[in-house]
């Protein structure tokens, strides 16, 4: 117990105060309620940083009964995730001050908001199985309430799907922990870690599989991702930002904690399995994102993609660790954690941006947006930064982590087996594919919703977002740039987490430089930044000198001689992705419906109706049959429950007799 714990208790107190204040003063809860989580996040950020720079720390261990012992413990791994939650909570709380202004039930929102964040901190800081599971359940339940917050029918069904999926996942997590307890005799994480090497290999594999399925459900790996594109759009945008930015990362934390930290280095195929899951999730995630016209759902699918990229790094690290290449393994782990950080920053930012847009236009459908860059200049600018970051374009943070991930996958070529040699570069190609599709996807999002002419009355009536919303987005944008051009500094922040996960250090040289000695290559985003800015200024000046004064005539866009272009003649979001839908129709299973009415067949069409539906493969061919089966099973079981009292008495009698017979 050190003096640093004061930050923990201080933060805890603030969040509890934030949760209670709206209950005590329901009338007076203005948006200032969010000052509590804002400051609380600062306190936790300091605490997280302390964990990152110093040693593990036991916070509290309140023993109530022998089995129910609450243990909270922080180490470098949890420090990293604490910092992530704190950064995003800070910005989202500021954002929420403006965002929740016109919200109904904002007191309830404020209460849930605080408990939700506190439960995420609790998950990360849990030191034993019981504490972890209780925190995990709290997080799931509170987020369920937040998903169904607006009480619409679609939110309710999204929430139901989320609740079912998350509990199915939790079942696997519990099974994994029970197996760990059975074979190590410990409930305490530290104890499990100590004794984990004695677990038989077969059991280890089962635990690995259960942990990946359980935590993967929360993280949103394919095919366990189905709840994400339903639940994230249904929740209010500040909550979607938190869910996508940090809550799904608790799944990553769980995988790191149980598989990498507790079980230790496993066989090579574990890593290969993680790489494959990552590759499939990233490719399919972005493919589904591309065709989506609902802005928030698109972002949710893109989260699936990014979780895939994170897993590519982690998987590569596991493969390298099992080949004994610990330094390279540390670099690969750095790639994974770096992308975890980045995704928190830019996806948090993008969801906040989407929230501002939805708030201003009252629609999530991008086909009804357009031209918003002129009406909401700040939101557009920050959204552009988020898009550039998520597309991994240079100067911003996504680029650094994707570069590292590419390198990590290339390292896998050094591992012993031919399978890894083949899988790793092919996953690299999958990552390149994903990258190109992410560019297409965010060109679509930004181009269709912010550029061109407004496509509807909704878009024409958009207003500038409130200052606190802009501030929240601005802070995250700044961090996207800073972590993009100072990778050396950023990596130093969490090098202790990488060390405790892989047992090796990735010491990169310099501040803006990221060089990997093993491959005699590196990047220097800082000098890229400086050179690019100077080139930009030079280009502007040279063009001015060379071409003389700028002469511009403003006119209409090229209209082929038609009197005037209307906003309906613009390229639509559906049209934009049509080539992709056609090319990948085997994956999308798309069905095209056209209906035309003619004035004179077949030349003069009066009206054409066009619809292109994609079949969500996993929902239709995996989840639907399972649901149908459970339904029919329930239908059969129903007959047992006839409502007849005598029958029930008969059941009791039969049970009693059976028990008497078999109980001995």
């Amino acid at each position: 117990m050190t003096s640093m714990c004061i930050y923990y208790y201080f933060g805890l107190l603030l969040f509890i105060a934030g949760a209670i204040t709206p209950l005590v003063f329901p009338q007076k809860t203005k948006r200032f309620a969010y000052i509590f989580p804002t400051t609380g996040a600062c306190a936790f950020a300091v605490f997280g940083m302390y964990l990152l720079f110093d040693h593990p720390l036991d916070i509290s261990a309140a023993s109530i009964t022998p089995f129910l012992e609450f243990v909270f413990r922080g180490d470098a791994i949890s420090g990293f995730f604490i910092l992530l939650i704190s950064i995003l909570t800070f910005s989202v709380s500021i954002y929420s001050m403006g965002y929740t202004k016109d919200m109904v039930n904002k007191g309830v929102m404020s209460v849930l908001f605080n408990i939700f964040i506190l439960s995420m901190y609790a998950v990360i800081l849990s030191g034993n199985v019981i504490t972890f599971l209780i925190s995990w359940e709290t997080m799931s339940v509170v987020s369920y309430f937040l998903v169904t917050f607006d009480r619409k029918e679609e939110s309710a069904s999204a929430g139901l799907l989320y609740a079912i999926m998350t509990h199915a996942g939790t079942a696997f997590i519990i099974a994994a922990f029970l197996l760990l307890y059975k074979y190590t005799g410990h409930m305490d994480f530290a104890g499990i870690k100590e004794a984990a090497k004695d677990i038989p290999a077969g059991i280890k594999t089962i635990i690995f599989a259960f942990a990946v399925i359980g935590f993967g459900t929360k993280a949103g790996i394919i095919p366990l991702h189905t709840w994400l594109p339903q639940a994230h759009p249904a929740a209010p945008s500040n909550i979607s930002s938190l869910m996508s930015g940090v809550m799904i990362k608790t799944g990553i934390y769980g995988i790191l904690r149980t598989v990498v930290d507790m079980l230790g280095v496993g066989p090579e195929w574990w890593g290969i399995a993680i790489i494959l899951i990552g590759a499939v999730s990233s490719v399919l995630g972005i493919l589904y994102a591309l065709t989506e016209n609902d802005m928030k759902r698109l972002l949710a699918y893109s989260s699936v993609e990014n979780i895939g990229i994170i897993l590519l790094g982690i998987g590569a690290s596991m493969v390298l660790a099992s080949s004994g290449l610990h330094t390279l393994s540390a670099i690969a782990m750095t790639a994974g954690l770096y992308h975890t950080l980045n995704h928190t920053l830019f996806k948090g930012l993008l969801f906040l941006g989407a929230g501002s847009v939805v708030h201003a236009t009252h629609t999530k459908n991008m086909e009804e947006m357009g031209g918003l860059i002129k009406l909401m200049p700040y939101t557009a600018f920050f959204f552009l930064i988020g898009s550039v970051s998520i597309c991994a374009l240079p100067l911003f943070n996504g680029f650094v982590s994707e570069w590292l991930t590419f390198q990590a996958l290339l390292f896998d070529f050094k591992s012993a087996s031919a399978v890894a040699k083949l899988i790793a570069p092919l996953s690299g190609a999958a990552l390149a594919f994903t990258g190109a599709m992410a560019v297409a996807c965010f060109v679509k999002v930004f181009g269709i919703s912010f550029l061109g002419m407004p496509r509807s009355e909704h878009a024409r009536g958009a207003e500038v977002a409130s200052p606190s919303m802009i501030a929240g987005m601005g802070f995250l944008s700044l961090l996207c740039l800073l972590t993009g051009i100072f990778p050396g500094h950023t990596i130093k922040f969490f090098s202790s987490s990488v060390f405790s996960l892989t047992g090796a250090d990735f010491s990169s040289s310099g501040t803006g430089i990221l060089s990997i000695r093993e491959i005699s290559s590196g990047i220097s985003p800082l000098s890229l930044f400086i050179v690019m800015i100077s080139l930009f200024i030079a280009a502007v000046f040279l063009v001015r000198i060379f071409g003389g004064k700028k002469k511009i005539t403003y006119g209409n866009s090229w209209d082929c001689g038609i009197p005037s272009l209307t906003s309906r003649m613009q390229y639509t979001a559906t049209a934009f992705t049509n080539p992709i839908r056609v090319t990948f129709k085997k994956i999308y299973l798309s069905k095209r419906h056209t209906k035309a009415s003619y004035a004179l067949k077949p030349y003069f069409a009066k009206a054409i109706e066009y619809r292109d539906d994609i079949t969500p493969f996993f929902e239709r061919y995996i989840y639907q049959p399972v649901t149908d089966f459970i339904h029919s099973l329930a239908g059969k079981v129903k007959h047992l429950q006839s409502g007849d009292l005598h029958l029930y008495l008969g059941y009791i009698l039969a049970t009693l007799i059976l028990l008497l017979i078999f109980w001995s």
Binding site: V388, P394, L528, V531, T583
Partner: protein
């Protein structure tokens, strides 16, 4: 001096474009315009008045500069005639691909900014092509990078100063198809078309005029020459200088231009002898070359060369 080698790209890229055009004209039995015509075009465009749509936003005005600057940035990172460089940032080829992606991103956005159907069409098609091309390029890069043990182009160039291995041969063919697609040439795109409905790259530039168009065009020429240079570095580095010695530089300069001219010749032959493919036939062409790239990687794993 070795740090200024990107100037070669900046200055000579319009010339390469002029040469390709001239060769194509000769193939078609025309005299064709002078090989210096692209320079005249650029100069005229820089001086011309611009017509800008009032629908556009600042994205439209910033994009030409970003495209231009990012291409020069890419040029700075490529070893042209010598692998020696004092910049700490030079050479990593994955970075190069992402810098190109940056230009593409802003070009595609600018095309959507004017709110016309043609811009959107060009933008959408360009994105489609780049989705198919990028993994292929990356796989070719992986093959050479794994063989050289580095993703740094300078290291790759120094390591492979020998004849082509089987894996490199396959990767080379795949990469050439990728370049045809990425530079917007037949059979993927027709650079000379003026029919809006068939345009890909030109469709995105449709709203541009004057100096913005000049910047975009110049960037396009530079990108073309850069991609040729990357091919030369990855597959035929023979002759490239290792340090800044004058005689060596002179040899490198000469051999570099011969190699680039050779590639330009291949381009014009391909363009003159092929017909443009229908857009939806592209996936089979590019899928085929993707298979080539995978094969090259398999070859590297199987026989180690």
């Amino acid at each position: 001096m070795e740090n200024m080698q990107f100037i070669i790209i900046v200055i000579f890229s319009p010339l390469i474009q002029g040469i390709i055009k001239k060769l194509k004209a000769n193939f078609q039995g025309r005299v064709g315009s002078s090989i210096f015509q692209p320079y005249y075009d650029l100069m005229r465009l820089f001086k011309k008045e611009m017509v800008v749509s009032h629908v556009t936003s600042w994205i439209f005005r910033v994009a030409p500069y970003i495209v231009f600057v990012s291409t020069i940035m890419a040029a700075i990172m490529v070893p042209v005639i010598t692998t020696k460089s004092t910049y700490s940032i030079t050479g990593d080829i994955i970075v190069l691909i992402y810098i190109f992606a940056m230009g593409k991103f802003f070009m595609a956005l600018a095309a959507l900014d004017s709110g016309t159907a043609f811009g959107g069409e060009g933008s959408s098609r360009e994105m489609m092509v780049s989705i198919l091309v990028e993994p292929m390029i990356m796989l070719c890069i992986f093959t050479t990078a794994i063989a050289a043990g580095s993703t740094n182009l300078a290291v790759i160039a120094e390591q492979h100063n020998t004849i082509l291995t089987p894996s490199h041969m396959l990767a080379f063919f795949a990469f050439m198809i990728a370049i045809v697609a990425d530079t917007g040439r037949i059979p993927v795109d027709n650079p000379d078309t003026h029919l809006e409905l068939t345009m890909i790259h030109e469709g995105m530039l449709l709203e541009y005029s004057g100096r913005y168009l000049a910047l975009m065009e110049w960037a396009h020429y530079m990108k073309q020459m850069l991609l040729f240079t990357i091919v030369v570095d990855m597959f035929f580095p023979l002759g490239i200088a290792y340090d800044g010695g004058m005689p060596e530089i002179a040899v490198a300069f000469g051999s570099y231009f011969l190699k680039i001219l050779f590639l330009a010749g291949i381009m014009s032959v391909v363009e003159s002898t092929r017909a443009k493919l229908r857009f939806f036939e592209l996936p089979s062409l590019l899928g085929g070359s993707f298979a080539l790239a995978v094969l090259s990687l398999l070859t590297l794993i199987m026989i180690g060369r």
